[in-house]
């Protein structure tokens, strides 16, 4: 089973928080959820919305077409009415509101709405008529009178009571689903904590409970294991903390900063020996972020930074220094819509090739990309182990689509991490930081342990500047050899995920993996069996395994959130095999299950390239 729900409202009206409250309520009732936030680069006023998929099985994607549209403002109704399949909740006092007075609606969207309604000056009443014609169940609510009675009953200002309007919409949603309102009350308590706020919202729930609302979806509470609800930035932060992170630097940037602020809020970590402390530094820019992280790593601390495209661009020289000096540092790359400022609050996979080539010169850059929240957490740990074993920067890609989306995961996942620190020096006399060895790895000592030299110049084994050509040739090869070693040692099975076994291969990476997983049963029903290959490590690339998996496939389809099919290009470069057809999306919105299913139909009918555009 699957139910898709969407709530919207002006940025700053609590849509974000309230969607999290709703997700928690549903999760408490035993269901799996997957939610996604879409918002403008704006603090107050612009239209933001949150989608939530509900299922009795683990779920990884949202749909463009939704079962329940939950609204309390006019703009959400105008923006999303065409996506509703079953039920729409709306404020009955807004019937006369005209689209043409909503100045925040972008012109292209307004034009689209007008053409859908076939009306140049549509009102909410026209939207309602449209929905009636489509046999959508309508739930008109007098939100104002409810909030007024909340204000009266509790003797609070109407401004404060007005903030409960999204809670009212949630309570109605719960009743449509057939779930007990006590789950909502518990979730409100978890999220708001402050007693006054909890009481006011509780009152709003009670009022909503008095309304005549039918149980349409008939959900029952189901047994569940111990679960948590978290978003991608928190998953990454938890992975880093478990991995022993000691230093994290960042410069404020969407959507990366949430990870750093979470770590700072939890910087005193309980350990078996007491506590340990993580320094979180907000720097003056991303140049300082990467270079302070590299500096901290030289002291033996597990060190990282987190950023998005513009910041990553600024970090490239520092990453090159880290490569030259064999510094284990982790850069969490929250990928968003680019180039330039691009779509600062939207998602994208357009920087894969950039991540693979960041920084001048040749040096081992290990690049991994997570496909869901569980992977974000586990890969954050993996990144440190690889960085320290191969003494080189590791770039961990997490798209905005994963950063700001949230899901339920089993608690047991968060047991103690396996920690591999690589080869450490034990003899500090006449220490050579860059000692030549067969496999290129020199035992690592930390600043303070030995007399150590580092330089961005080519250097000798001590780390002193050395431009002599034989040394240059040898030292260069020593650095590059580590990538060969990583390629030999890291199992190819760990560098990708394979799902299903069919005669059609689908190549993907990052967040589209989850969407593909969600549509695989539907594809199977249509007799389409796919082998889903999700690449997780792009350098070193799992060449042999991908080659084997692609053998004898009748069709290879590439699915990515970019224009250039970058992962497929990398694959072609690495193993000489490319895709036969492409499903691509670069609108900044994540790929959705229903549009992807439709795209498969078109590809199987012979389309070589399908471009997706779903979502507001």
């Amino acid at each position: 089973m699957r139910i898709d729900w969407l709530i919207g409202g002006p940025q700053g009206s609590g849509v974000d928080t309230i969607s999290l409250v709703f997700a928690r309520s549903i999760a408490k009732a035993g269901y799996f959820v997957y939610g996604n936030r879409e918002y403008y680069s704006n603090i107050k006023g612009r239209h933001s919305y949150s989608s939530l998929a509900i299922s009795d099985k683990q779920i990884h994607s949202i749909n463009e077409n939704i079962d329940i549209l939950a609204t309390f403002d006019a703009e959400t109704l105008f923006q999303h009415f065409h996506e509703v399949k079953k039920v729409a909740i709306y404020d009955q006092n807004l019937l006369d509101t005209r689209l043409n007075i909503l100045y925040g609606v972008e012109k292209e969207i307004a034009d689209d709405i007008k053409s859908r309604l076939n009306n140049n000056d549509p009102k909410i009443s026209d939207v309602i008529q449209y929905l009636k014609d489509k046999n959508i169940t309508l739930i008109p609510v007098d939100i104002g009178s409810i909030t007024r009675s909340v204000a009266n009953d509790l003797k609070v200002s109407s401004l404060i009571a007005d903030r409960t309007k999204n809670t009212i919409v949630l309570a109605i949603s719960m009743r449509l689903l057939g779930l007990d309102l006590s789950f909502l009350e518990m979730a409100i308590k978890d999220v708001f904590k402050d007693k006054n706020t909890v009481d006011i919202n509780k009152k709003a729930i009670d009022k909503a409970n008095e309304l005549d609302i039918k149980n349409i979806f008939n959900l029952k509470q189901i047994e569940k294991d111990d679960r948590i609800l978290l978003d991608g930035t928190t998953a990454s932060a938890l992975g880093k903390i478990n991995a022993g992170l000691g230093f994290q630097s960042y410069y404020p940037i969407t959507p990366a900063s949430d990870e750093s602020t979470y770590i700072e809020a939890h910087q005193i970590v309980k350990t078996d020996n007491g506590t340990r402390n993580i320094v979180v530094l907000q720097t003056e820019d991303e140049l300082a972020a990467i270079n302070s992280a590299v500096g901290a790593a030289l002291t033996g601390v597990r060190s990282a930074t987190a950023t998005s495209g513009p910041g990553f661009s600024l970090m490239s020289e520092g990453i090159s220094w880290a490569g030259m000096n064999e510094v284990p540092v982790v850069i969490t790359y929250y990928m968003r819509g680019a180039p330039a400022t691009g779509l600062p609050t939207r998602s994208g996979q357009g920087d894969l090739e950039f991540a693979l080539h960041v920084g001048h010169g040749e040096f081992p850059r290990i690049v991994i990309a997570s496909g869901d929240h569980k992977e974000v957490y586990l890969d954050a740990i993996w990144a440190f182990n690889i960085a320290e074993k191969y003494q080189t920067p590791v770039i961990h890609i997490v798209e905005k689509a994963l950063a700001n989306s949230f899901t339920t995961l089993n608690k047991s996942l968060f047991d103690r991490a396996n920690i591999e620190r690589g080869i450490l020096a034990s003899n500090f006399d006449n220490y050579k930081r860059f000692k030549f060895t067969d496999n290129g790895i020199s035992p690592r000592a930390f600043l303070g342990q030995a007399r150590i030299f580092y330089t961005g110049d080519e250097h000798n084994e001590f780390g002193h500047i050395d431009e002599e050509s034989v040394n240059r040739t040898k030292m260069y090869e020593k650095r590059m050899k580590k990538l060969l070693l990583a390629d030999q040692e890291i199992k190819e099975e760990d560098r990708l995920n394979v799902y299903g076994d069919g005669d059609i291969a689908v190549i993907t990476w990052g967040s589209p993996k989850g969407v593909l997983l969600d549509i695989m049963p539907s594809l199977e029903e249509k007799g389409v069996n796919i082998t889903l290959i999700q690449i997780k490590m792009f350098n070193p690339f799992p060449k042999q395994l991908v080659k084997n998996l692609l053998r004898d496939k009748k069709l290879i389809i590439d699915v990515e959130s970019n224009y250039d099919a970058q992962a497929e290009k990398v694959m072609k470069r690495e193993i000489g095999i490319g895709a036969d057809a492409y499903i691509l999306k670069w609108s900044g919105r994540q790929i959705m299950s229903d549009e992807l299913l439709d795209a498969f139909d078109r590809v199987l009918k012979g389309n070589k390239k399908v471009v997706l555009t779903g979502g507001r």
């Binding site: 972020a289 990467i290 270079n291 302070s292 060190s303």
Partner: protein, 298 residues
């Protein structure tokens, strides 16, 4: 001599030799070595200092303009290390100015020794941010049309709690200033004036000889009420014409260093800083996420 010392390739007569001598003596007299101190440098002639220094100390030769960022990471991860930066004027006031100003805001304990010769030596003598307007040093095709940044003034404005001016060839007083800067709690900045015999044919040894004198002032701010007066005194010295006072210009003892500010967020920071604490036991994480996971439980 230490076997692995790099061949020193500075030009004969370079002011860096004087700075190096003063620094070696200061480190020696304070008993600093690789176990308790580190030299961080940027790019340019000064950047090579850690490779040339004849003290049993480690060195990190970083990127152009970024040494303060590296030093910040090193110091915060391991506050038991004394961190000394050898940086150039272009390094600090040109490409790295953002870091220089931000470091003043933090007041993290380290010493920034800025080798100030008015030119970009290693790229053959272009004008640096401290070269006065109208001057045409040897390799400039035209006179410099940019006004100079006043290093002392900008350091004071940025919030450095220790600001000094030294002269490369007065190794004795430079050494004393370095020692005092290293012992200072907070960010220390030393503008070390340095002749570049190869490219700066204006600010020569003789030019400095006519102008240098030792300051005889009390630079200390012992309580905040003295701050404005001492800043005024420092600014007067910063903008002196025809003479150049050498010594500590400003020393504010009332501004808490960044390490101490961190203590308000992390009370155990000084005892249990990141570089000192274990993260694993037999390859297993010792970090317990239980309370964090409980916060997220549904």
């Amino acid at each position: 001599m230490i076997e692995d010392l790099e061949f020193n390739d500075w030009c004969p007569g370079c002011g860096n030799f004087g700075i190096l001598r003063a620094e070696e003596e200061a480190l020696g007299e304070l008993g600093l070595d690789y176990k308790n101190a580190i030299i961080v440098s940027g790019i340019g002639c000064s950047g090579k200092t850690p490779h040339f220094i004849n003290v049993d100390i480690s060195g990190v030769h970083t990127l152009h303009g970024r040494s303060i960022a590296f030093a910040t990471g090193i110091k915060l991860a391991n506050p038991s290390l004394k961190v000394i930066l050898n940086v150039g004027d272009g390094d600090t006031l040109g490409i790295g100015l953002g870091h220089f100003v931000s470091a003043g805001r933090r007041n993290l304990s380290f010493v920034i020794m800025m080798h100030d010769n008015g030119v970009y030596g290693l790229t053959k003598g272009q004008a640096s941010p401290t070269l006065p307007k109208g001057e045409k040093t040897k390799s400039l095709p035209k006179p410099n049309i940019n006004a100079p940044i006043n290093p002392i003034s900008i350091a004071i404005a940025a919030g450095y709690s220790f600001v000094a001016r030294a002269y490369a060839y007065d190794t004795q007083s430079t050494k004393e200033i370095i020692k005092e800067a290293i012992l200072h709690k907070g960010s220390a900045f030393i503008d070390v004036l340095q002749p570049c015999p190869t490219y700066n044919d204006i600010n020569t040894i003789d030019w400095y000889k006519e102008r240098i004198y030792k300051l005889d002032i009390d630079p200390n701010v012992n309580n905040p009420s003295q701050r404005l007066e001492k800043i005024k005194q420092a600014i007067d010295i910063a903008y002196q014409e025809d003479k150049i006072g050498i010594g500590i210009v400003y020393k504010d003892l009332t501004i808490e260093p960044f390490e101490d500010r961190l203590l308000s967020n992390i009370p155990g920071y000084i005892q249990y800083y990141p570089a000192k604490t274990e993260i694993s036991n037999n390859n297993r994480s010792i970090s317990d996420l239980t309370s964090l996971i409980d916060e997220l439980k549904v």
